[in-house]
Symmetry: C2
DNA sequence: TTCTCTTAAATTGGTACCAATTTTGGATGA
DNA sequence: TCATCCAAAATTGGTACCAATTTAAGAGAA
């Protein structure tokens, strides 16, 4: 149920790691930006210690890079790395397809359909962030159907490392609508228990973003 | 070339994280053991700060668990989690088989054969740790053939989370010899470019440990 | 004896301070 | 004018100290 980064106890005090990560993923902190500890302290209202720990964690996750005595800067993932990571995601999300097809109950499929509908409905009146979240929820629900409790965390970690500004990924309207259609089609293929076709769709869906 | 945990600059000062991890994986620090900061300080000859950072990193990797105001203890992975992680490794290491079969050069295969031989030769006169390392090297080399630069790190991370004492995994002589034979067979199937059979072998090889 | 409450010791975890290094800004000289 | 060197400021990163919490020990009552 917990992702690898979900270290918050209560909503009252979200971990600085998450706050910084959120700003990186939303594009506020661009790739290459140097993250000065003092700035982060004032920006997030946390002590020096917590900031240092957060930066170390993000460095471990390869979301920022640490240069000794110089500081931390937002990691620039080159094209090759992004492709490699996408490739890993494809292996995992297509790898579970046989099991998902074999074990998904009709209630699971109904639930997945609801999430696909949710994403679709947000095309018109949702914010970019809401779309991003809805997309995340759909894919997470799909992965959960594998019954593998560790897989969701692994994929979440990979997704965090992909694009440094994944939110802004949802640029064109056409692309969003295509994603929405593919979500629906994924549910269709799952309901029809067509494993191979579903695999192919999942692959192209991830590959295009 | 770097794994996710390889933060050492020179051999002169290995990171405390690696030292602690090594002792966990070698079984010196058993699952459930409470890792007291003072003990770790004296044991590894490092300052309080570095120990704290190391513990936080290991907690992020889910190798130890953190209980606020109580400390850190070695994580006990239950059977389900170990199975789930093995399942993920299978998806990844079988997922690359088609590409490896398609692109491996004869020199690559020769190199892999050498590593399989190396493992085999250590059965008689090698220590358990050397066997563990040799097995690691074989699998790493295999993964490298995929051309995916990120995959090796991901799998390394997964392997670290699997068994808490993976070194002691090589218990029986029969099991070691079976592993050695399977390594050789993997190289055979790769040389013969038999993708499907190789996939099946990789799966059973990982599944049995 | 055994349970419970109280007190002391041990441990964690945060804050503040300070040293080491790097960067910036400006002065000097070609 | 431009490059080089030096000094001051800024930044990182480690060490030491101290507060909060937990654990262990011991005294006292049933």
């Amino acid at each position: 149920m917990n992702t690898l980064l979900d270290d918050s106890i209560a909503d009252g005090e979200p971990d600085a790691t998450q706050l910084i990560l959120a700003d990186i993923q939303s594009g506020i902190l661009q790739p290459g930006t140097w993250l000065k500890q003092i700035d982060l302290e004032t920006r997030y209202g946390r002590g020096r210690n917590e900031i240092r720990r957060a930066l170390d964690r993000l460095a471990q996750k390869r979301i920022v890079e640490h240069v000794p005595n110089r500081g931390y800067h937002v990691y620039k993932a080159d094209g090759k790395q992004a492709d490699d990571i996408a490739e890993i995601r494809i292996m995992l999300e297509t790898g579970i397809v046989p099991k998902v097809v074999a074990t998904a109950k009709t209630s699971d499929i109904r639930n997945l359909r609801a999430l696909a509908d949710r994403f679709e409905s947000l095309i018109l009146h949702g914010t970019v962030l809401e779309l991003y979240e809805a997309n995340l929820n759909f894919h997470r629900a799909f992965v959960q159907l594998s019954g593998n409790g560790e897989l969701d965390g692994v994929i979440a970690e990979l997704r965090q490392r992909t694009s440094s500004a994944p939110v802004s990924q949802w640029k064109t309207r056409a692309r969003i609508e295509k994603s929405a259609r593919e979500h629906q089609e994924m549910v269709d293929l799952l309901a029809a228990r067509k494993a191979d076709e579903l695999k192919a769709l999942v692959e192209s869906h991830i590959r295009q973003g």
